[in-house]
Symmetry: D4
Subunit: 218 residues, 8 copies
Amino acid sequence: MYLIIVGLGGIGRSLAGIASENGHSVVVIDKDEEKCADILSLHDLLAIAGNATDKAILEDAGIDRADALVATTSDDALNLMACWLAKKYAVKTLVSIVNQKEHADLFKEVGVRISENPDEIVARSLYLWSENPDTQLLASIEGGSIFEVTASEGAKGVNRTVKDVSDMKDMLYIAIRRGGKLIIPSGNVTFMPGDVITVFTKKESEGRSVEYMDELFH
Amino acid sequence: MYLIIVGLGGIGRSLAGIASENGHSVVVIDKDEEKCADILSLHDLLAIAGNATDKAILEDAGIDRADALVATTSDDALNLMACWLAKKYAVKTLVSIVNQKEHADLFKEVGVRISENPDEIVARSLYLWSENPDTQLLASIEGGSIFEVTASEGAKGVNRTVKDVSDMKDMLYIAIRRGGKLIIPSGNVTFMPGDVITVFTKKESEGRSVEYMDELFH
Amino acid sequence: MYLIIVGLGGIGRSLAGIASENGHSVVVIDKDEEKCADILSLHDLLAIAGNATDKAILEDAGIDRADALVATTSDDALNLMACWLAKKYAVKTLVSIVNQKEHADLFKEVGVRISENPDEIVARSLYLWSENPDTQLLASIEGGSIFEVTASEGAKGVNRTVKDVSDMKDMLYIAIRRGGKLIIPSGNVTFMPGDVITVFTKKESEGRSVEYMDELFH
Amino acid sequence: MYLIIVGLGGIGRSLAGIASENGHSVVVIDKDEEKCADILSLHDLLAIAGNATDKAILEDAGIDRADALVATTSDDALNLMACWLAKKYAVKTLVSIVNQKEHADLFKEVGVRISENPDEIVARSLYLWSENPDTQLLASIEGGSIFEVTASEGAKGVNRTVKDVSDMKDMLYIAIRRGGKLIIPSGNVTFMPGDVITVFTKKESEGRSVEYMDELFH
Amino acid sequence: MYLIIVGLGGIGRSLAGIASENGHSVVVIDKDEEKCADILSLHDLLAIAGNATDKAILEDAGIDRADALVATTSDDALNLMACWLAKKYAVKTLVSIVNQKEHADLFKEVGVRISENPDEIVARSLYLWSENPDTQLLASIEGGSIFEVTASEGAKGVNRTVKDVSDMKDMLYIAIRRGGKLIIPSGNVTFMPGDVITVFTKKESEGRSVEYMDELFH
Amino acid sequence: MYLIIVGLGGIGRSLAGIASENGHSVVVIDKDEEKCADILSLHDLLAIAGNATDKAILEDAGIDRADALVATTSDDALNLMACWLAKKYAVKTLVSIVNQKEHADLFKEVGVRISENPDEIVARSLYLWSENPDTQLLASIEGGSIFEVTASEGAKGVNRTVKDVSDMKDMLYIAIRRGGKLIIPSGNVTFMPGDVITVFTKKESEGRSVEYMDELFH
Amino acid sequence: MYLIIVGLGGIGRSLAGIASENGHSVVVIDKDEEKCADILSLHDLLAIAGNATDKAILEDAGIDRADALVATTSDDALNLMACWLAKKYAVKTLVSIVNQKEHADLFKEVGVRISENPDEIVARSLYLWSENPDTQLLASIEGGSIFEVTASEGAKGVNRTVKDVSDMKDMLYIAIRRGGKLIIPSGNVTFMPGDVITVFTKKESEGRSVEYMDELFH
Amino acid sequence: MYLIIVGLGGIGRSLAGIASENGHSVVVIDKDEEKCADILSLHDLLAIAGNATDKAILEDAGIDRADALVATTSDDALNLMACWLAKKYAVKTLVSIVNQKEHADLFKEVGVRISENPDEIVARSLYLWSENPDTQLLASIEGGSIFEVTASEGAKGVNRTVKDVSDMKDMLYIAIRRGGKLIIPSGNVTFMPGDVITVFTKKESEGRSVEYMDELFH
């Protein structure tokens, strides 16, 4: 894959690292020359200092043969315009961070795959932990969330089968991590102390599901 | 809950907003006076300009009656020391961002609940999207990941039951979003065009699971 | 007219002055608080410090009842997004500076009336003057330009009628300024010393037209 | 032509580009070393970092053999002094931006060809567009202005000759742009849909002329 | 006297102090608001923050009733334009620092009384002292200089009359300072130990005059 | 002479130029590396970036063989200490600017030859000119001042001898500049139009002397 | 005591705290207004923003009735001049930090009590610790040093009297800290585990003394 | 010894100098590249620009073979984390400055040898001098302090033996400096004028001890 990354903030830098380590051709664009120099010393990629809405810069970056462009800056206007220009060059896959929720529609009109503000995602999970330190929110989707619990030695749910402890409606066991292995929890699997249990719950039942798991495994 | 938030970067600001809107008592600490003034104009909370490793500041923030402290700065050393001091004041719940993976152990020794570098989490999902633009990675846990697919009109899997399309080992249907509703996918549920389908897969089968879902629903 | 101006550079400031002096309701938006304070002390208008791509800011500016939005910043991405958001709010008239020619198409797709880079316009006329100091380029349109010549005492064309000196194809007399008055040059008007003569010429004949006028009036 | 340009703001940079592309010998002077380095990498010219009122700098720039000096900075005092010094060196053509109208007289006393504040020119045209989005002001001279209208399909004036729609006093058709061609509108030319019509009007009749054209062609 | 001072560097500040302490009406103009605020707290005068080439600023400063304008900035272009504008307002007395010798002619053409670069004046006297530490150069005029010597106890010239030690051509005794008193040295005055003797000499004889005085009084 | 100059402000730079052009060995010391680099490109001398109160720096500058050290910074404390250290190294001649009059005594105790604040000297002469534009104050000493007047055509004093117009007590003719020549005004010299006349006056009679000269020569 | 402190770095701030808590009248002088404002909010004292070599500032600080002035800035020239000026005002006690050893003599000539560069003192003790982590250097005087050792359980010297373990020449027991108490070590005192033992040693025997104590108490 | 120093403030710089001059292998780490470059030009050591809590940086610094790490920054959180990471690498000796007293416990838990805030140490001794200018506090330990007095000619204690003037309880003579020599004060030693006498006293008797010595030796 030939990938152009716009912006070298924390996210852009991480993405550049992942993509180049996976053997893709990566070009990064950032206004800051120093950041460009830094990333060059770390990974095997091309870095261009300039404005990603400048066609000359995009062409230097090889926009006409790029498979994907990912915009990661904190400036939605820049992200949007860079994606739109990339579309004019027939780049197939356009992905962008959207820093302000209200801008999501404009990106969608241009046909960009968007990720909501990452700071909000993290803040939400920190919030839930500070309320329930033993519960780790993994993700939230419209209407539901996924969380993780660790089974304590001697807890009620330990040594019982999945089937036995499935009377909670609106909740579903997704996975059990035991030692280095991951188990898909069919009904006959028995919970053991130390199991890390991943659970899905409807949002309206989140409170009750967390309590239910608490009671069983802590 | 009485919550102290250290740091007013993007994550700290979001967290302050969520927590105060949920009716908690929130105190934020940041070195930058301007950021403190800004947040005060947006939410109903207390903001203190100062260094969160300074005991006088922590006491001004009410550390002795806090239920939780969440450290969100980009400086791990500051996060670590603030958490440790909070522990000395018997704060029950300690949560922190860890910016460099290698520091995780120190936080764990102090008993802090940590969140990995958020930039890396987001970068990873952007990376997967740029490879599979129609697949949305929702979360990844050790050994597995959760993703979402939207069922196209006329796709092979449409109008078939969950049971019918469950021959993929190491994969599990978690939820179906249809209109405003969320359905837990028991075996008899029938997929419909437009359904947003959430799926869990073991990591070693991620490639095949994505292909399988592609074939069924696109 | 209810007019929103985005950006308080030289152009934005001038525009704010003209529009408010003409009795319109004017709101200006700029990121720089100082510039907002300055303009408030000079004109009767409303100034908002903030990002014009932020919906809350646009709403504070009364975007829902604005007749026109004019984007004047040097950042095309910002200009574009502000116009597009304004369109979503059904603002009828959208006008913008376009700093890089290559972006013109995107603005047109959104339905924005654009002005080319003003620096280039001025530079072009300075260039022509430095070549022909006595000729003043007034404007250039696709395929033609308009310039001005002052008739010297005793020049060949003086005391002759417009008709007499109209054998130059691709050129047209537009106006004659004499004393404080402006005359539309019908065929019988006689040129007098000191007349400032405005002329239109096709671009391909610009060189010859300038020479022709030089010969007649200098 | 041997041309010295003072100042590397937007206008100076554009002018440097135009003049060097037209094969002239160009020297630019700006206080900012970085701007000098930048322009060198773009065009074939000489750039000198320094103060253009410093005789040593002017001499390095070859003032004694220059045909023209164009001052483009935003500092009128600097523009004026640079022009005056150039005059002492017998530079034939002196051209300058005048940022504040009230300074125009001083420049004229020195014998400098001046251009009014470019920001005001642009602001004025943006202002007219925001009032009449379909009318484009092209230029304004003392006592008159030049504007452009696009003829809509089915408008009243379409399919009529220039002569037929010339009953508006104080107004003159200057040019018609049709496809790629430009037509000088003699009386028998017939207007067609899509024609871009350039018109001159006396200032006192500007309002009525715009209305008249509106009625005919929209 | 109504005096406008342009620039609040060291010289401008000193001048403002002297003039206001002498009971004149003083207005100072400087671009820097802080400097304006500072001077207001020290003296009884008016201070205006702004550009002295801006007519509105000059009018705020009362240029139409000013008796004199003194330009003291380190920017000759600014000094020149401020003086020229003042002349247009019929200010009778125009005085300016000239920082670069080569600009002196322009100021003279405008009719400005100029002072050479003050740094050079001081440097010259420091230079002479470092060569002749006991001789103090007081001033230099075209063709001559004025210096001071202190008569040592027991020196040859002590106890002799002015007339007795006047055989040096091209040199003239100007004054003798004795105790708190100042004496005009008529021929019969006798030099005494401790006398501070002020002497004028033609430049071409400066070396010999200094030696002569050295021999007599050290 | 081996001369060390401390400080590269305007005065220091001028002094460095004068001294090196006169063939002396010059070393300059300034904290600012850029200023050091600049002066090196202009004159034949040695420049050291550093603090002149640092013995290592002074030794690098060759303090042990220096004939003179001249301190020209705007920081009296630095000037004083640099001079004092130089004295410890047996530098014979110590000269310094004194920025605040009140510090003069400390410098004298160390044995430093001082120059009063140069800004005040210049300001005083500007002040006198703005009062008497035709009179140029050349210098002021304790109890007296020296000024210059130009004799107008047809003035009363013209064509009269020095003796004839010497009835003003406390005033003395010092020199007459006529054409390129300088004349010591013995009693029989006759004043001519255009003569530039240098005069000494006791301070208490300054007003009357100026009036007297005005009457005679304007 | 009426105390003036010059400089609000770390040392100046600490000193201001100690002195004002001990009930003295304290005035601090620092160039930085912000530091002055900060210290005012912490202690009951007077803070003046300005240059401590400015007599007006010193007089505002009450120099004529001060008992002591302590100069704590990192600029020796400033410290020296402030002390010297204070001496002129008959301040009895003058104390100063000396940042560069070589300046010590100048301070002594003025009669100032000096403290060597504090950074060097601390660095020296850190250096010794990094060599002998169990030994704490407390102070060093000319020719000797004072250090501290903690007696381990079961060490050879434990349960023996001071007299018994005093065969090391050039070394002296100064004090024993046991629990909260401090004991002057007369010959019959018996060492106990946990004792913190303070010892004096001649410098030439420092190595051997440290070894001796090591052997006895570790 | 292989020594890593964190931080290049005054203390870090001094320490680096001492340690490298004593022939140890020294590596310094500081965030500021300039400070790293400076120190390299002065001493024979290795300097690394970066964050000392970054494992990659620590490994570059050779943490796995270091004998000691000394943290000298003004940021306690950074000092603490650097020490803790060093401990994980089995560095035997850990030493750190502690800037805020209240943090001392955390460092001790990690096993770090700490030095109290050096600014406070110096401030305390300056304070004592400003009270007793003739007494020099050398060090203070829990419960006691060490100070120095110089014996004046003709003072009461002079010419008496140590034993004779030892009736002050809670006080001990530690050393006498006479000429270049240092004497351990056994009972028979006789005090002589000019002796510098080092004394230990319990804190609760400090006042009385100082008075006692004053009486004897001043």
